[in-house]
């Protein structure tokens, strides 16, 4: 469990999931952020953790913003570009809020575990009670804080629940070093809560993985 104490770190961003990731990454590490958006997380990690950071971003506007900040970000696609990175090139490969938008999440995760000694994955939990409520009671595709787009204009094509993700990690033999879930207000859920509780009340899952020892 990560306690989000008031500190200079929490002054640096409003994204609580980013703060959780900053806490997971060691000082001076080599980090690849896949789907790095406008580079906010990479800049945070550079400023607070002194990392050697790289990024991949699909949108031209995102890449432009990153490069203007002096970040080493390439315009590219998680589905097609990860295969070109060498094994063990990074200490951490981060995929924040992007897994569900990839064409082949399993392959992406395999590449992350190959490229990095650690993988950090955050994703919106499709098992959250609001999602279930929308589907079960309203009979509509859910629109929530974590999933703000309508079904017809969402970039998300592969939704999963926290339990689905855990199952995929087990299938790939990935070890979970840390796992936490955040409520829709961004507060971490109790560490000792059972999986069903996380899966129902966690709006987001945040996982620190390590390649399993084969």
């Amino acid at each position: 469990m990560i306690l989000l104490s008031p500190s200079f770190e929490s002054d640096a961003t409003s994204r609580l999931d980013f703060l959780a990731i900053v806490r997971m990454v060691e000082q001076g590490a080599r980090v690849l952020d896949v789907g790095c958006g406008d580079g906010e997380l990479l800049a945070l990690l550079r400023d607070l953790r002194g990392i050697d950071g790289r990024g991949i971003e699909l949108t031209r506007s995102g890449v432009n913003a990153c490069l203007a900040k002096g970040l080493a970000v390439i315009q590219g696609d998680a589905d097609t570009d990860l295969e070109h990175y060498p094994d063990n090139g990074f200490d951490y490969v981060i995929l924040s809020q992007t897994l569900q938008a990839t064409r082949n999440p399993k392959t992406v995760l395999e590449h992350m575990l190959r490229i990095g000694s650690h993988a950090v994955v955050t994703f919106p939990n499709f098992g959250h009670w609001r999602v279930r409520f929308d589907l079960l009671i309203r009979g509509r595709m859910p629109v929530t804080e974590s999933l703000p787009d309508n079904w017809y204009d969402t970039p998300n094509i592969h939704y999963c629940t926290i339990r689905d993700f855990v199952a995929l990690c087990n299938e790939l033999g990935a070890e979970m070093e840390q796992a936490l879930a955040m409520s829709s207000t961004g507060n971490p859920l109790r560490l000792l809560a059972p999986w069903w509780f996380w899966n129902l009340f966690g709006a987001q899952g945040i996982f620190l993985l390590r390649r399993g020892r084969a």
Partner: protein, 388 residues
């Protein structure tokens, strides 16, 4: 010239340029990739800004095929501003208040670095086509002799577009420990078959001009101006894009709105191209054009290393690669090949494809996204190196 126009050699830039020049003798002969040796040779350059005490703030600008060392000052031949005033100068991305910006004329050029228009010391006549064939790697060796001469060990940044980008890639690959950061723009790690084809058409146009005289025109008092102008017209089309040409010229007639039923330059685009051809002849040597296009043809960094990622294996150099959407001469796919190889080699690399309809020449023009990216890259790197 029959029409009284001046050509580049009337200005004597080849041997006595209007810029600083460093001359090397037999004790510093330049051995070329072909095996030929230039016993006596010289390199002309321009420099802007001040080299700091520990010589850590030097930026090397590599010019393109028909460029020269006059990046940010009035060109002594054309009397026009330098070719990259938006990139180089006080307060510009390559800020001459902070950095020592250096631009050499390339080997085989005609603005003061030894080339086919220079005097061959063995004969006392211009080299002409006796000049040995040069490669991009040879150009880079000449640059580094200049860098050594100035006492600079590590270049803070090297930057160039098109053929300048090829020199950037070659230099970064040959001297990884002497280049902190590199910005190849609108370029490729090898020249495509299509581009070799364009080069060949240009060369054939020059050589088909009877005034080329088998390459000996300087001695015989003729100039292959028509051939070189045609080569320039053809090449110039490849630097632009269909959209840019259409926006600027459309199908507009030069004088009135109907055809004259002649072969004169009736359309504005024809008139524009003819002007480009004629003005180019005034400032460039035809044989230089042959040699430099040939050097580009030979460039293939992957073949030289048995794979492009091997050319940059574990390089400490930080890269920023930029391409342009409408550049069909050095398309984004070429830059992607490069970026993937750099990633595979473990390099730090930023890459963006800038949206522009101005074709290959976009890298020379006002493209704010490019400037912001270069500025961000330079600033972050300067901070890492502690350059004020």
């Amino acid at each position: 010239m029959p029409d009284g126009r001046k050509t580049f050699d009337d200005y004597d830039q080849a041997d006595h340029p209007d810029s600083p020049v460093v001359r090397f003798g037999p004790d510093a002969a330049l051995r070329l990739e072909s095996g030929a040796v230039l016993e006596s040779w010289q390199i002309a350059y321009q420099a802007y800004g001040v080299l700091n005490a520990d010589k850590s703030n030097a930026i090397l600008v590599c010019h393109a095929l028909t460029g020269d060392q006059h990046v940010a000052n009035e060109n002594p031949v054309t009397r026009k501003p330098g070719w990259w005033p938006l990139m180089v100068g006080p307060g510009k991305p390559l800020d001459t208040n902070r950095f020592f910006v250096l631009c050499p004329n390339v080997l085989a050029g005609c603005m003061g670095t030894t080339g086919p228009a220079s005097m061959n010391p063995a004969t006392g006549r211009p080299w002409g086509i006796d000049f040995p064939m040069v490669t991009i790697a040879d150009m880079v060796e000449a640059h580094m002799r200049l860098v050594d001469h100035l006492g600079i060990h590590r270049l803070f940044c090297i930057i160039g577009g098109s053929m300048g980008g090829m020199q950037v890639l070659q230099l970064a690959s040959s001297y990884p420990d002497r280049v902190f950061s590199a910005i190849p723009l609108a370029t490729a790690a090898r020249l495509s078959a299509q581009n070799i084809a364009f080069d060949e058409v240009g060369r054939q146009a020059v050589m088909a001009d009877p005034d080329w005289r088998g390459g000996r025109y300087l001695e015989q008092g003729t100039r292959p101006s028509k051939g070189l102008a045609v080569a320039r017209m053809e090449a110039h089309i490849t630097y632009l894009s269909e959209a840019a040409l259409h926006r600027r010229f459309g199908r507009q007639f030069k004088e009135h709105n109907h055809p004259d039923f002649s072969f004169d330059a009736e359309f504005q685009i024809e008139s524009y191209l003819r002007h480009q051809g004629v003005s180019f002849v005034e400032r460039f040597d035809a044989n230089s054009y042959l040699y430099i296009t040939r050097a580009m043809d030979y460039f293939d960094l992957a073949a030289a290393h048995g794979g492009l990622s091997k050319a940059f294996h574990k390089t400490p150099t930080r890269f920023l690669v930029i391409s342009f959407t409408s550049d069909w001469l050095f398309p984004t796919s070429d830059s992607r090949v490069l970026v993937r190889a750099l990633n595979a080699g473990g390099a730090s690399v930023g890459f963006v494809e800038v949206e522009s309809d101005r074709g290959h020449d976009a890298f020379l023009l006002n493209e704010p996204v490019m400037f912001k990216a270069v500025q961000g890259f330079i600033d972050a790197n300067a901070q890492m190196k502690g350059i004020a």
